[in-house]
C-alpha cells in the first residue's frame, strides 16, 4: 500500500502546530533557566480565552491574540511563585496545570456547544497560524543566538550567579521569558479550539502540554530542534493513523512510545558528548530548574 508522503506532510503541519508553539515558548523559558511544567495549564487557558474571544467577536485572529495574552497572564502566577516567592519550580508548575485546567473548565461553561467562526485559509490553503508557527522557529533562533537580549537570556539560564555578577537583572529576564512561554502556549492551545475542533470542551488539550515538554528536551534546547521534535512527535501519530486508514495493522502503543524513547536517546547522546569530549555544546541550560536569590 503506497502512501503519498506529501499528504502525510500536510497532515503533519496541522497536527504539530499546537505542540510547536507550546514547545517554542517552553524552549525560551528553559533557556532562561526556568522549568515550567505548567504548559498544559497555560494551553487550556489559551484554548478557552481564544475560543471565547473568537466566538464573541467573530474574528478568529483576535482570538489568537487574546489567547496569547491569557496564556501570558496565567503564567504570571507561576512567575510570581517562583521568581518572587522563590517556590520550587517543579511543584509550582504542577500546581499551575491543576489550576489552569480547573479555571478553564469553570469559566468555559457559557461557551459549551457553540461554534467558532471559520478561519480564512492562508497561502497554499494552509492555515495562517501554521505559517506563523513556522515563522516563529527562525525568529526564536535569531533572538536566542543573534540578539543581545537573547545572549543575556542564555547567560541567565546557563549560570545565574555569573549573570548577576555581570549586572544583569535575573528576575526581570526570567519574568519576560515566562510570559513569552505563556503566550506561546496560549496560542498553541487556541489552535486546538479555534482551528482544529471549532468548539470549546473541557480538557480539550488532552495532554498536548506534556508532549511539548518532551519536545524541548528532544530539541537539545535549540529552535530548529524544536521544529524537528514537533514533527517527530506529530509525525509518529499522523503516520500511525494514516497507516491505519490505509488498512495496515500497526502496534499503536509500541509506536507511540517511540518518540519518547528517541528523546531519551538524544538526551543521553548529547549529555555523553558534553561529558566525555568536554566540548561546549548546547545541552540543558546549567541553571535549569533552580531559583536565584541575590544576597545583595
Amino acid at each position: 500500500m503506497m502512501i503519498d508522503p506529501l499528504s502525510v506532510f500536510l497532515l503533519l503541519l496541522g497536527a504539530s502546530t499546537p505542540i510547536l508553539f507550546a514547545a517554542l515558548g517552553e524552549l525560551v523559558v528553559e533557556r532562561a533557566g526556568v522549568l515550567n511544567l505548567g504548559v498544559e495549564g497555560m494551553m487550556i487557558t489559551g484554548a478557552l480565552a481564544g475560543f471565547g474571544a473568537a466566538y464573541s467577536t467573530g474574528n478568529p485572529f483576535l482570538g489568537f491574540l487574546v489567547a496569547a495574552c491569557a496564556g501570558a497572564a496565567i503564567s504570571m502566577l507561576f512567575a510570581a511563585l517562583t521568581q518572587v516567592f522563590l517556590a520550587n519550580q517543579v511543584a509550582s508548575g504542577l500546581a499551575l496545570t491543576l489550576f489552569g485546567l480547573g479555571l478553564a473548565a469553570m469559566l468555559g461553561k457559557p461557551f459549551e456547544g457553540v461554534r467558532a467562526p471559520a478561519m480564512p485559509a492562508g497561502p497554499l490553503r494552509i492555515n495562517w497560524i501554521v505559517w506563523l508557527g513556522l515563522v516563529m522557529v527562525p525568529l526564536v533562533w535569531w533572538f536566542l543566538n543573534r540578539t543581545r537580549s537573547g545572549l543575556i537570556l542564555r547567560a541567565v539560564g546557563e549560570n545565574h550567579e555569573a549573570a548577576h555578577a555581570l549586572g544583569y537583572n535575573i528576575r526581570l529576564t526570567r519574568l519576560a521569558a515566562i510570559a513569552f512561554g505563556g503566550a506561546m502556549a496560549g496560542v498553541g492551545g487556541a489552535f486546538i479550539s479555534i482551528a482544529t475542533v471549532l468548539q470549546w470542551t473541557e480538557g480539550m488539550t488532552a495532554g498536548a502540554g506534556w508532549i511539548a515538554l518532551a519536545i524541548v528536551v528532544f530539541s537539545n534546547w535549540t529552535a530548529p530542534g524544536v521544529l524537528a521534535g514537533a514533527w517527530l512527535f506529530g509525525g509518529v501519530t499522523v503516520l500511525q493513523l494514516r497507516l491505519q486508514a490505509a488498512g495496515v495493522a500497526v502496534p499503536v502503543q509500541l509506536l507511540s512510545m517511540a518518540p519518547y524513547l528517541a528523546t531519551i536517546i538524544v538526551l543521553v547522546a548529547i549529555s555523553a558528548r558534553q561529558k566525555f569530549s568536554r566540548r561546549a555544546g548546547t545541552g540543558a541550560p546549567g541553571s535549569l530548574g533552580t531559583n536565584f536569590h541575590a544576597l545583595r
Binding site: L37, L77, A91, L94, L103, S271
Partner: protein
Amino acid sequence: MIQLVPRQSASNTWQIATPLLAVLATMITGGLLFAIMGHNPVAAIRTIFWDPLFGMASSYSRPQLLVKAAPLILIASGLAIGFRAGIWNIGAEGQYIMGAITGAAVALALYPLEAWWLFPAMVAAGLAGGWAWGMIPALLRNWFGASEILVSLMLVYVAQRIAAWMAFGPMRNPQGMGFPGSRNLQQYPSASNPELIAGTGAHWGVVAAAFAVLATWFLMSRHIRGFHVRAAGTAPRAARFAGVRPAVLVAFCLGLSGALAGAAGLFEVAGPAGQITDRIGVGYGFTAIIVAFLGRLHPVGILLAGLLLALTYIGGELAQLTMGLPAASVQVFQGMLLFFLLGFDLLTRYQIRRRITA
C-alpha cells in the same frame, strides 16, 4: 525597600504558622470564589475541610483519608530524600505505574494459585519494578551525565504507554468480554490487598506509608546516609571531602524513591484500584511531588501534607455531592491552596526586612 534575608535554619514558629496562614488565605479567597458563583461560602468551606473529618458520614470518610493519602505519603517520603540531596526524581508517576504492572504480573502469571507467599512476592516485584524504573535515570546520569529530571519525566510517558499496551494486550482479562483491563485482583484472595482492620481503611499500603515516614525520619536524622544526603544537598563540594560518593548517592536516592513509588503502585493495584487498566496512573506520582514540598521535605510534614491534600479531594467530592459545586471549582480551589502554600513557604526560609536606604 523590602529585602529578603535567608534564615540560618528554617524558623520553627513560621514552620507551623505558614501552613495555617496559607489554609486561611485559601479559605478566604476560595470562599469569595464560591460566593461569586452563588454558593454559601461558609458552608462550602465547612464541607471541604470539616465534614470529611467530623461530618455526618465521617466514620466512612476518615478512613478514606488514609486510603487516599497513603500512596501520596509513601511516594513523597522517598522523593523528599532525593530532593534534599539535590537529586530530582520527577518521574515517580512512571515508577508507580511500573511497580503496579510488575507486581500485578506476578499475580496474573500465577492465577489462580492460592498461596500465602503470593502477596509478599507481589510486593517484592512491585518494589523491584519501581526500583528498576528509577535506576534508569540514575545510571544514565552517572554514566553519561544525562539530567535525571528530564529522563525520569520522559519515562513517565513510556510507562503510561506500557500500561495501555498491557491493558489491551498481554494482561487483558480473558474473561473480560473483550473489554480492556486485567483480572480484578480484589477477587483473587491471595493477591488482594484488603482492609486489614474493618472500618479503618488501613490496607498494607497504609501500613507501608506509616513505616516509610518512620524509616525516612530515622534515616535522615540518625543514619550516616541521611547525613550524606543533607551534606550533598547543602554543600556538595564539602560533602565530597566528607566521603560522599555522588554516583552512589544518585543511585541510592533514585532507587529508593523508585522502589517506594513502585510499592505504592502495587498496593493500589492489588487493593483500591483492583486491576491494571490504561488509566492505572491517576497522577499520584505528580501530586506526591507537591506533597513533598508542602511537607518541607520532612517526614512529619509530608504526613500532614498528604492528609491535607486527601482531605481536599474527599471534601471536594462531598461539596459536589451536597452543594452541587462543579468539580472544576473544586479543582480551582485546590490549585489556590497549592499556590498559597508554596508562596507562603517563603516566610519559613527568609526573613523580610526593611532595607534602610541612605
